[in-house]
Symmetry: C2
Subunit: 601 residues, 2 copies
């Protein structure tokens, strides 16, 4: 969530409802295990809440049902939520049997941690909230009384393991996830979305459609792309590359490791070290796996003297970078340790900067639209006065250029005041997928820092050296993450232009195989990706398998089709287009490819 | 050199001539620095010889001239080369003022090292050779007397630094390179080739044509591809990819690091550790940069159950690997630390193996011919009885299949008996470039080892599990090395289809710029890579620069061309094709691209 959106959520009734429902759940759990339940933390989260417990046994689905029932009773009882401020000693007395709470109280007393044990700059009071006979250490806010919660709009979802304070050396707790909404309809809509999201889970589809593998032998967070997933990725890359070339980008290649002093010069070892892997030693020099491509593109810029006439220079690369993520947070293609950015760095004169930013934003939208996305939301992060490179006055022009580009592009945007990285203002572009989920993919970042650190220059019309401006940008962001989003957006049913197999020919009997093979050759010559299913299975089984594989076109071939030089065309949605000449089918499929139409059933 | 070729060379007169000339040079050097010259080693090498000396001062080009003169005098004196066998003590007495020789004698005495300090399995006698009053520790062979050397066919070439025994902690010596031939004509031809090779040096051309950069800040042996070099590479990759797809290969992507236990299972940590970089630690697990792609392709194979109907499976990848090379041996694009293989692994049933090998060899030749190479030499390495995986009997069929494929392909081949790696027989395919230099690029290797180590299986028609055969192959080998060869082969004047800029439009005056720009747009729409040189330089300067940049077509545009809708076409060779309609030029250039003709001047 953006900082603005987060603030609005925290001010909302729904936030208080979820927070209070978490307390009610904790009450129900402590009643279920009297004297034995140790409570940890239970915050509201996006779309719901959770609460972590240390319990004498593992919870079952039946427990959740029973807890939900008890929660509805508590809600019906119309208890108020009473707030009280305590000293640390009073709080420790009150929670003397709750060791996790004691640890949180100590953290609050020493300062720097909030009641969830998270770092905070505030020095919060120690407060408790009580409903019925259940009291929790909590800063609030809550609803005034339980009646403000709709008992038909709550649901406990599942239980998952979670280490206390996320530390794998601390106890493993049971985390109950729940959700709460204002109306039963909202709850239903949310549950449908959850179920749909599970069906679309790219990890499941990745396996079913044989798109990619993650193997523990190779290492978590490292993706092995199977031929079909690799094909989709390559088509996406080829399309983007062509568009980049039309847009005046030049492609470079850079290595995956670089000397420590390169990363010292770039500053990554100062401010990004936690995201970098341990160095490796080569002949007494330390080298790091690259977490970013920028220093390499900078070195290519620096490999010659550049003149004002050479600018803008736009270096693009499918650059595979490696960034540290804890194994616990890795998630399919969406959060990985190695990923390929569709990265580019622009070097331009100050007078070229507004146009470059404008072009980049327009180009991002152009590319994302080609993949079937149309619902965008942008966030403009402005200077953090406490932490920023360059002269504050220098920030104004690029920030304004970013803002104007957003205005001209007519996409909704919010300003995240003070949320820029230290090196420059930026735009983050999010898109909403078919389920309305927001994904951050594109980023356009202005950089005051690297040109200075690498002493970049161009020779101006005046014969003097000047400092170029530098812009980082990635549009799809990471090919891995983008593919994850794409799989979920389309539920694996890729548009024809991206489908790894576009059509499968299904001969009804052995005597139709030769004809099917001949048509396949024609279709391949026309640039289509076509398989022939010549297994000894029945036609209906082949059609079902093709549908499961989400192949756009099934082309059934029997006696009649063979005699007429036709194929019987069926879409993966089940729609039957009837028999058509092979040439007509080829034309139709080619049109679907060229239009990049996402709509084919 | 292959082992067969090396043996033939060692038996040749030229080898003895060069060896003896090295001794004569050493005599001349010791005479030039009486009592001060310490001699190290001086073997014949391909096309010549060298000798390493420890001298009181650096040698100058004038010294080389004087040495050459003295060598001719020695040759004219008709001295014999006398051999004598000594005990180690006698030898130490004789060479008491020559510390390097003493070290070599100690090595000979202890065994395991030859008279060049290189490991050997023989236990050679300690022998000396004497001509005139110069005696050298030497195993021979030599010519009988100096008269057998043609004084008009010798030349000292240059001096370079070389560490004693290649160890950077030992003294730096002066190595004089020289050459010797049977006739003055042979010498001249060789010197011309040397000069031509210098002109074609891909490191020089890489800089001049802005193709790639190696930067000490990034690290030696790590290539930064500039846009123009990247373009050539990408065109080569795209062409190959398309051909691979036609040939039934499927493309995969794999990460650049993998867990230590993957490399243990594959065996790389046993037999290839010296070629691998130090591991890096991620959450207590060791990971290695990949030196090869095979284990990843194997893991993709293993990600599903495979049936006999699925085979052959052919996984291809432009896989970037990292292998340790000492910084002293790195050389431009030809010897690097990180490179991208056009790698593939084939998994097939035993009955499919001969056809697969046949196809792979034919495919290699097809690809290499497309890049303009036509002169091939193959080497078939057979089982080393002392070191081989699998049952010796199992080696017969694949070795025979490799041999038969070579026969059918009608390319000359030699058998390197016992030179196979332990894991299977292989074909190395070398090509000769425009200067007749031999380059090893393609390799086709049969592998008994990995299917066993990873327990690979497919389900046969009998419903049982069977072990598939596995073949490794890289055709261009490494994109870096191949590009180096390509640059030198074409002296940077790439054929039209590969040229990063195919044509440059040269407006004679400012009033022709708009017309030139319009034509450039038309040409780009036709798929050509075209620049407009709109600098304020004179036409001849622009033509000269375009020739230096080896751009295939220069299109001059003045009043006459502008009025007629034409361009005046000139080739980079200087040949003037006269004015032609823009459409006609486009057609001609497209034909040159499509034919991949290497011949355009």
């Amino acid at each position: 969530m953006s900082s603005g959106k987060k603030e609005r959520y925290q001010d909302s009734k729904l936030y208080r409802v979820r927070h209070s429902t978490a307390h009610i759940m904790a009450q129900a759990v402590t009643e279920m295990f009297p004297g034995e339940a140790k409570v940890a933390i239970g915050p509201p989260i996006e779309d719901g809440f959770y609460y972590d417990f240390d319990l004498p046994r593992a919870l079952t689905p039946e427990d959740l049902e029973q807890l939900e029932k008890r929660m509805r009773e508590i809600i019906a009882s119309d208890f108020g939520f009473e707030r009280k401020v305590l000293t640390a000693d009073e709080a420790r007395g009150l929670f003397k049997d709750q060791p996790y709470k004691i640890e949180l109280i100590d953290g609050l007393e020493q300062g720097g941690l909030d009641e969830y044990g998270e770092p905070t700059e505030d020095a919060p009071e120690i407060s408790i909230y009580t409903q019925d006979d259940f009291t929790d250490l909590c800063r609030g806010p809550h609803v005034e009384n339980t009646k403000q919660i709709n008992p038909d709009a709550i649901r406990l979802l599942n239980v998952a393991g979670a280490y206390w304070r996320g530390d794998e050396n601390r106890p493993m707790l049971q985390r109950i996830y729940g959700t709460a909404w204002e109306s039963a309809e909202d709850l239903e809509a949310y549950l449908w979305k959850l179920e749909e999201a599970q069906k679309r889970d790219h990890r499941r589809l990745g396996k079913e459609l044989d798109l990619f593998t993650v193997s523990d032998e190779v290492g978590p967070g490292l993706i092995l792309w199977s031929p079909k997933g690799g094909m989709v990725r390559k088509i996406a890359e080829d399309y983007c590359r062509e568009e980049h070339e039309k847009g005046g980008y030049e492609f470079v290649y850079s290595p995956h490791i670089g000397k420590a002093n390169l990363w010292e010069t770039s500053g990554h070892l100062d401010w990004y070290k936690d995201g970098m892997y341990a160095p490796l030693d080569i002949e007494g020099q330390q080298y790091y796996l690259k977490p970013m491509n920028c220093p390499f593109h900078v070195m290519i810029y620096k490999s010659r003297t550049r003149s004002y006439r050479d600018l803008p220079i736009r270096y693009a690369e499918w650059g595979t970078v490696y960034r540290f993520e804890r194994s616990g947070v890795l998630h399919g293609l969406l959060r990985v340790r190695g990923f390929t950015q569709d990265d580019a760095h622009l070097f331009c004169r100050p007078d070229q900067m507004p146009e470059e930013i404008d072009r980049v934003l327009g180009f991002s939208l152009h590319i994302l639209r080609a993949f079937g996305f149309s619902d965008f939301q942008a966030y403009l992060s402005t200077r953090n006065p406490d932490k920023s490179a360059g002269d504050p006055a220098d920030w104004e022009a690029p920030t304004e250029a970013l803002r104007e580009a957003l205005e001209r592009a007519h996409i909704p945007y919010e300003i995240d005041e003070g949320e820029a990285t230290f090196y420059g203002p930026k735009i983050d572009l999010k898109l909403r997928d078919a389920l309305g989920r927001e994904w951050q993919l594109s980023t356009i970042q202005f950089d005051f820092n690297l040109p200075e650190r690498f002493d970049l220059a161009y020779v101006g019309e005046d014969g003097q050296e000047h400092r170029p401006y530098m812009i980082h940008r990635a549009l799809l962001g990471s090919m891995e993450r983008f593919m994850g989003v794409l799989i979920e957006h389309y539920a694996g049913a890729f548009p024809v232009w991206l489908a790894p197999v576009q059509a499968v020919l299904i001969p009804i009997a052995d005597r139709h195989v030769d004809y099917a093979q001949e048509q396949a050759v024609l279709m391949r010559e026309a640039g289509l990706r076509v398989d022939v299913d010549q297994r000894g299975e029945r036609m209906n089984a082949k059609i079902r398998d093709a549908q499961l594989q989400k192949i756009p076109y099934m082309l059934v071939v029997g006696d009649r089709e063979q005699e007429a030089g036709q194929v019987a065309v069926r879409l993966r949605s089940g729609e039957d287009l009837g028999a058509m000449d092979v040439a007509a089918f080829i034309k139709q499929a080619q049109e679907a490819v060229e239009s990049r139409s996402p709509a084919l059933g």
